[in-house]
């Protein structure tokens, strides 16, 4: 019975319209998922989602509503998923995606075969789920079904320590990679990052498919600078350190932007660090601890290039600063236009 094997855990905060759409899709009559146990982790929302969820949980017995006492942030909420899971397999979901359950039977088959990771969305890498691209793929949280036997105490500690790095769930993925687990995938996507009617501007998601500006929604004035100036790529590089095998780690680092040569990725990182983050030193320290010898050599070359390219560097930097400020202004002004 699938009911005893798989459960779903959902995260929300102040997105009532999106949540209604997802629950309608998940609890529809034609979905194979409507009888599973669904727990919703509600991060103390204030726009009416709590009452809505209480009404639904009274009607449907398989829906459980847990409301956190206070808003702990999205990353800590993701870490809570891994603490709560009880059945042999669990599938974490977000509240702003679209669903297509046509190939769900393959996932059921993979669960019966005893896979450690079942990949359910290959949108970010266009169908490729082999090792280095898989790590980038799984920055998107609903892209995989996880096995609870893989959540040992050390992985939970790693997940909790990875909270500042934007992708705490990559610690569970790294555990599977380090210990050689079985990974299987589904032929067509079950989850989709955006539906047909979503605008591209409202796609402010916490994965490596969207714009790599510092995550503007989460910046508050009282935050420590180590978090203000850490953008999604920096968080990705830091969580690559969880992979123990050095050659695999190097591959995962280079897969941050597939198809782009490594020196160009590093040059982009350095310009973003100078322009958007006021030349924050810790981003360099974090990158350096992750890189290979060869990659460190390239890094040093590009770093010195940014300083020795003379006056043109400072002029280019001023231009980029203006572009960055315009983009940031656009981002912030579109906040109220979510679906």
């Amino acid at each position: 019975m699938l009911k005893e094997q798989l459960e779903i855990i959902l995260i929300t905060y102040n997105r009532k319209a999106c949540l209604e759409k997802t629950l309608n899709a998940v609890l529809a009559e034609s979905s194979p998922v409507k009888d599973l146990q669904i727990t919703v982790l509600d991060n103390a929302s204030t726009d009416g989602t709590s009452e809505y969820l209480q009404n639904i949980s009274a009607q449907k017995p398989n829906l459980k509503h847990i409301r956190n006492n206070k808003n702990i942030g999205p990353n800590a909420n993701i870490a809570k998923i891994f603490e709560i899971a009880s059945k042999p397999y669990f599938w974490p979901l977000c509240d702003d995606d679209a669903y297509d359950f046509s190939s769900f039977g393959e996932a059921e088959q993979a669960i019966k075969d005893g896979a450690d990771l079942i990949i359910v969305n290959t949108e970010l890498t266009k169908g490729d789920y082999s090792f280095p691209n898989m790590y980038r793929l799984l920055t998107f949280l609903p892209a995989a079904i996880y096995k609870t036997a893989n959540i040992t105490p050390t992985t939970l500690i790693n997940i909790n320590n990875n909270i500042p790095n934007w992708f705490p769930h990559l610690a569970a993925v790294a555990h599977v990679i380090n210990n050689g687990g079985k990974i299987s995938a589904v032929s067509s996507d079950i989850v989709k990052r955006k539906g047909e009617n979503d605008k591209p501007e409202s796609n402010k998601k916490q994965d490596l498919g969207s714009i790599t500006l510092p995550s503007i929604n989460m910046i508050m004035p009282g935050m420590p600078p180590s978090q203000k100036y850490k953008f999604l790529e920096a968080g990705y590089y830091k969580s690559c350190e969880l992979i123990e095998n050095p050659s695999k780690r190097a591959q995962a680092v280079e897969a941050c932007r597939p198809g782009v040569p490594f020196w160009r990725q590093i040059a982009g990182f350095i310009t973003w660090n100078n322009v958007g983050c006021n030349n924050y030193l810790n981003n360099y320290a974090d990158l350096k601890s992750v890189l290979n010898r060869k990659q460190k050599f390239i890094f040093n070359l590009m770093y010195f290039r940014s300083y020795f390219s003379g006056i043109s560097y400072y002029l280019r930097r001023k231009k980029k600063q203006k572009e960055y400020d315009c983009l940031r202004h656009k981002f912030l002004s579109n906040e109220g236009k979510d679906a």
Binding site: I72, G73, E83, T154, L156, I163, M220, Y284, A285, D286
Partner: protein, 316 residues
């Protein structure tokens, strides 16, 4: 009434004899604390504490027992305590400390009459300057927090600070930054147990995130100080170790300890630098050069120290 203003949250993992002692102290007839609401966050212990606590919670109505599904680690448990708080004031206790409840009226009067943002209950000294006070407050049961400090920002900062060893420092730093009312009492109500083992657990675990393994307490302290205002940060960083030496010597001993305990981790050297003033940065770099020269000349002696440390704490 103290019952409606203060609540206690206890954090345990696999320490049954110590826990029994603390509860004897807390629930004795003399103690002024036996009627308050006490919640115990049990981090999925395996040595019988869960059964002991469920029996206790049936006997006493003011004790609430919460057992997590899995062991989330000590620091995340502290962050969970902040999330659960409901009453105006919050006191977090560990399970291996001694208490001294004579003259507890001072605490009661301070909380009910003066409404402070922070009440420091174990300052371990008198007439302390800011850096000394901050260092002493890193001991978790020595502060009573007001829940007005726990805004969205501070909750985020608490969870960001889980890998840095002090997740309870952001609300304290907020009180210092905004110059809220901070009252320090003249007596220690909680006494440290010098034999506590909680800081060495990470070194024994295999497979733990290298950043967490190689980050030691002084580096974590400097990272959390980044939240302070620049004027206060200057003073706090000058004296980040508990000794009477100047900044240069403190930095030198820091690098020595880094080489022995953390395999000369470069991140520990670079990560505090953005938060220093210019003169501190200069002294830091000079101390690092002097240390490198010392290390190269006396490599053999350092190697002996490193090997003896590894035999003690790491699995080889």
């Amino acid at each position: 009434m103290l019952k409606n203003t203060l609540e206690i949250i206890l954090i345990t993992y696999n320490r049954k004899p110590n826990l029994e002692k603390t509860f004897k102290r807390l629930l004795a007839e003399d103690s002024p604390v036996k009627d308050l609401q006490i919640t115990v966050l049990d981090n999925c212990s395996t040595d019988g504490t869960s059964e002991y606590l469920s029996d206790l919670s049936k006997k006493y109505k003011n004790i609430n027992h919460i057992r997590h599904n899995r062991n989330i680690g000590g620091n995340a448990n502290i962050a969970r305590a902040f999330e659960i708080a409901t009453k105006p004031y919050l006191w977090i206790l560990a399970d291996d400390d001694d208490f001294d409840f004579t003259d507890f009226n001072q605490v009661q009067e301070a909380l009910l009459n003066e409404n402070p943002a922070l009440l420091i209950v174990a300052p371990r000294g008198q007439n302390l300057t800011l850096p000394e006070l901050l260092r002493n407050i890193t001991f978790l049961p020595s502060v009573i927090f007001s829940s007005a400090l726990l805004t969205e920002e501070t909750m985020l900062n608490i969870h960001i600070n889980i890998p840095n060893w002090y997740p309870h420092l952001p609300p304290i730093i907020k009180a210092f930054n905004e110059e809220g009312k901070i009252i320090t009492l003249k007596k220690d109500f909680v006494l440290i147990n010098p034999k506590s083992d909680s800081y060495n657990i990470f070194k024994k675990l295999r497979g733990v995130f290298p950043e967490a393994k190689n980050l030691f307490t002084h580096a974590a302290y400097l990272n959390t100080i980044s939240l302070l205002k620049p004027s206060l940060r200057k003073d706090a960083a000058e004296n980040f170790q508990a000794c009477k030496y100047g900044f240069f010597k403190q930095a030198f001993y820091y690098f020595k300890q880094n080489a022995v305990e953390n395999e000369n981790c470069l991140r520990n050297v670079i990560s505090p630098m953005p938060y220093f003033t210019f003169s501190q940065k200069l002294r830091w770099c000079l101390a690092y050069f002097v240390f490198c020269a010392d290390y190269i000349i006396r490599y053999r002696r350092f190697k002996k120290k490193i090997n003896s440390y590894k035999q003690k704490y790491k699995q080889i």
